[in-house]
Amino acid sequence: MEAWCKRAIKLRFLGMIAVGSIVTWIAIFVFAPLVRGQGSAASKTDTPAGAQIAPKDLFDAWMGYNWRSSLGPGKGPGGIQNYAAVDQKIPEPPLTEWAKQHLLYKSISHDPLDGKRVPGWDQPGRVCPSEDYPCFSEDQNGVPVNDINGEYAGRDCEPLSSPAIYELPFQGELEFLPTPDGTRILEFVEYHREWRTFWLNREHPKDLDLTYEGDSIAHWEGSDLVVDTTGYNDKTMISENVAHRKSDTFRLVERFHLMDKNKLEIQMTLYDPKAWGDKSWPGFKKYYYRGSNERFREYICSPRENRTFDNNVIDPRSKALQGQ
């Protein structure tokens, strides 16, 4: 081959390498921030307007935030309260007589949603948590409330179950993961380290064992995931603001709705024929924000650790209130 020909080939080859390098570096600078952004923590707010939301957008870790933001009570993200059930505005259906006999707690630790109010929060014998929301001495069924020895969700490390897992969104993340065979979605709850299985390919079994977490079946409505859970045992609290247990006919319907790519709204309707007859209790809402699964932490309720709290804090307060 002539020398000039060899030189031309060599130059063309070197030219191709140079162009390829330039293109590669341009790609790195343009696309790397986008790739990095998918794994970065917190506050993903750069959703383009009109971004299409797909079912798979739910499969991530989601963080809840404290209603007590520095902006003040009730002025959390978007002005939304997100603390326990106190932001539930729809009244509870009236209890059946059977429920009043069988489901009421002796007392609860926190405020109810309705009942007999105290004139001010600083009442002898009552431990009102805060002046930020209404303070009661008993609920609408006469159950004593704000009792230091009263029941609260997860007391003594009892399972929270649903919907109490969403009670205090700032206590931990949620994570939703599909199984590879597509038959289930697993919901992991950092708070008290509970998890649930949402079955996509079946109905509730006829011979259902009653369990703490119940049996959940789910389907997609567009990009909303609708989950129907029944088969709960009757051992868990609905909410720290509701002074009776679930019965074994309790049913929870959840709609996981992405308001945008980074904001998840959980809409809930509660049913309990033994407690409320044919009436439902709609209107529960909780808000979570897309986070990073690096922040999913261990939150194990250890009965022994919990007992130190009772021994060091609750018991002395209880004795002082009784005048001992």
Binding site: P124, Y299, E305, F309, N312, V313, R317, K319, L321
Partner: protein, 103 residues
């Protein structure tokens, strides 16, 4: 309005546990008698972490000033709000505050 008071004393224990953090504080009264205080707060292990607390933030023997809300009947129990160290450090210091879209 919840009353805020301060206590100066010596840490006896500190736990970042469920359901709330716990601080044990020995406080000498004017006569030299030692009162054993138990303060809860947090609100939770996760919340405490996000607010700058670590399991070794307070060690037995640390001398601190604590702002707290007293419990009814004053049984040497309260809700801790802020801890001030002799060198001026304060906890909680809320390093995660910027990440909270509510802030």
């Amino acid at each position: 309005m919840q009353t805020s008071m301060t206590l100066k004393g010596t840490i006896t224990y500190f736990m970042v546990v469920n359901p709330h953090g716990q601080i044990g504080l020995d406080v000498k009264d004017d006569s030299g008698n030692v009162e054993h205080w138990a303060l809860e707060g947090g609100p939770s292990p996760r919340g405490m972490r996000d607010n700058g607390w670590a399991p070794d933030s307070l060690k037995p023997g640390d001398e601190v000033t604590i702002t707290y809300h007293p419990a009814k009947g004053n049984p040497h129990v309260g809700l801790f709000v802020k801890v001030l160290f002799p060198d001026g450090r304060v906890l909680p210091n809320r390093p995660k505050a910027a990440a909270d879209p509510g802030n």
